[in-house]
């Protein structure tokens, strides 16, 4: 795992800087959500992916627009990486009519039909069989897309994980199971909740390849996903990728984080920040410099501020929209 992977050859300098921008967008989006939650200005339940930017960005970086994803409760990064409009996302968190779910769904339910995002949901592991159905469609109708399914380490203990991967394997489907192992479910650590070293090793049980990768290294994530994607596109069937990462924030609001140590948190924040890692690699390779990197950061920050302004200026859903869209 710890070997340094090469920068992806197929990616131009511009594309790499675009990914840097995207990762900053993800970070600032969730930092902003955190702030507004704390101030009591947005509601619902929310789960932040600060610290996990490289998994979402890296996995989606190799996908085409027609490729599909399924997302999770911790899904803001997935949406952004698949090309969602941060204005409409922020509006959704603010429960405004211009949001992706017309202000009725909040953080955990964003889908983006135009970008192949089949949606997030609040059931841990809920997306896994859904991704299998999507991939089965691609196979049966001979469509040229691959479905990438995000889920967490905790989700890998739900029945849906085992049932879904087995089906995908038996049917040899073009699907990538992408486990973001951030070390914990809500409070239960992977070490206590599973009896194996790597969730990726579970692939063997279903007769599919498993890859374990450094999740905070964007380039390692890209490499692993590229390998899985090629296999899926070439009829080689599913892959299970486990990306090791860490959520910086609590599970959701009001989490005293008693289940982990300050040292552990500090280690991941200071030694393994995916953005610092990326900056170092790109600067080292002469693809950017500190000034340009800083500009990218500030640009993303401003876009999130603009998203907040957009959300705040958007109307609330009309009160008589309560019953729309329950049925066609």
């Amino acid at each position: 795992m710890n070997k340094q992977v090469e920068l992806p050859k197929a990616f131009s300098k511009e594309r790499l800087l675009e990914l840097a921008h995207q990762m900053w967008l993800i970070r600032y989006f969730d930092e902003k959500v955190d702030e507004f939650f704390a101030r009591g200005l947005i509601h619902g339940t929310t789960h932040l992916c600060v610290g996990q930017e490289a998994t979402a960005a890296g996995a989606c970086a190799v996908l085409n627009e027609q490729d599909k994803i399924t997302s999770t409760h911790r899904g803001h990064g997935h949406c952004i990486a698949k090309g969602a409009d941060v204005n409409r996302m922020m509006a959704e968190l603010f429960a405004r009519e211009t949001g992706y779910c017309k202000g009725k769904g909040g953080s955990m339910h964003i889908a983006d039909v135009d970008r192949g995002n089949l949606g997030a949901n609040g059931i841990v592991g809920g997306g896994i069989p859904i991704a299998v159905g999507s991939a089965l469609t691609a196979k049966m109708k001979n469509l040229d897309y691959v479905t990438l399914c995000f889920f967490g380490d905790g989700a890998s203990n739900e029945g849906s994980f085992h049932e879904g991967i087995n089906l995908a394997s038996v049917w040899n489907l073009p699907v990538i199971f992408f486990c973001e192992n951030n070390q914990y479910g809500m409070s239960g650590s992977v070490k206590e909740m599973t009896n194996i070293e790597n969730i990726g090793d579970r692939a063997a049980a279903y007769g599919i390849p498993g890859i374990v990768v450094e999740g905070n290294d964007l380039f390692a994530v890209i490499e692993a996903t590229q390998e899985a994607l090629e296999r899926a596109r070439n009829g080689g069937g599913p892959t299970l990728i486990e990306a090791k990462t860490y959520r910086w924030k609590g599970h959701s609001k009001s989490d005293a984080k008693k289940y982990r140590t300050k040292e552990e948190e500090r280690f991941w924040r200071t030694e393994k920040d995916p953005l610092v890692f990326m900056a170092n690699r790109l600067i080292e390779a002469g693809l950017t410099d500190e000034q340009e990197w800083e500009n990218i950061r500030l640009q993303a920050k401003e876009e999130i501020e603009a998203a907040v302004r957009y959300a705040e200026a958007s109307p609330q859903p009309s009160l008589d929209s309560l019953e729309t869209d329950v049925y066609a």
Binding site: H43, G44, G106, G125, A155, E158, M186, G188, L322
Partner: protein
Amino acid sequence: MPVSNMIESIRDALGIALAADDDLLILGEDVGRYGGVFRATEGLQERYGPDRVIDMPLAESSIIGAAIGLALEGYKPVCEIQFLGFLYPGFEQLISHVSRIRYRTQGDYGMSMVIRAPMGSGVKSHELHSDSFESFYVHIPGIKVVVPSNPYDAKGLLLAAIDDPDPVIFLEPTALYRAEREEVPAEIYQIPLGAAKLVREGQDLTMIAWGGMVPVVKEAAVQLVEDQIQCEIIDIRSLYPFDQDLIVQSVKKTGRVIVVHEAPRTLGVGAEVAAMIQEQAFLFLEAPIMRVTGYDVPTPLGALEHVNRPDVNRIKKAVQQVLHY
């Protein structure tokens, strides 16, 4: 007498039960060190150890499923599900096995267990975090369903549920966890399952509610006094078995009824209550029984949540309709 909110009185009951019975186990996600999503089990693992207060992996099916095996072997499992909306992955165990084992074995095996879950809206949460599908569980033969509406009842009902020889789904209105504090005796007491509570006496109309709707109905009744309307309020609190006698007695007195629930209207428990009343007290009714309920929608976010959830105004309006029928 000590004063507690509902979450504290539930924790108190769980502590008492753990101390009283070495075979009582608490199973759930994050119930140990974390103390549960709403802190109902806070400190209990510290006191009783990780073998009694068991942190389960994310696998609701196996939380309920393992509880079945434990119960067959003589343990008393008390499962915590983080939100009622997350019971669905374990629903299969509940409907296929938990509810049927006594009947299936014709009494050779019992199935004494409790499944606790927060339910309902009113806390600015939404969708799966606000589900109020109590009628699913009421509908399943072999399962009892309890919904407390205040700290005192929560403790007494939970202790009764734990002592009950049959499986009990114990639904805790999230909106009420920290809504009020009241005197809750430190000692052990039980409130029998199947007994409703007369919350308020009145002769003009009977209001029937449970869980999160009880405080709303009480507030409406207080406001209606200004219009010289005296409402009687019954908190069913045990949805199965449910106290038909107390309801029928009240209806015979008032002749007018509204049933209030936040669950979707269609096939909510209100329908069952209304059907029972017309079977048993038809000639005493002065007006149709009205329901004030949630709409047939998943709970939305934001301001719409309050459109969906019955409030004082909707209740008062229904009362006027029933009175002026």
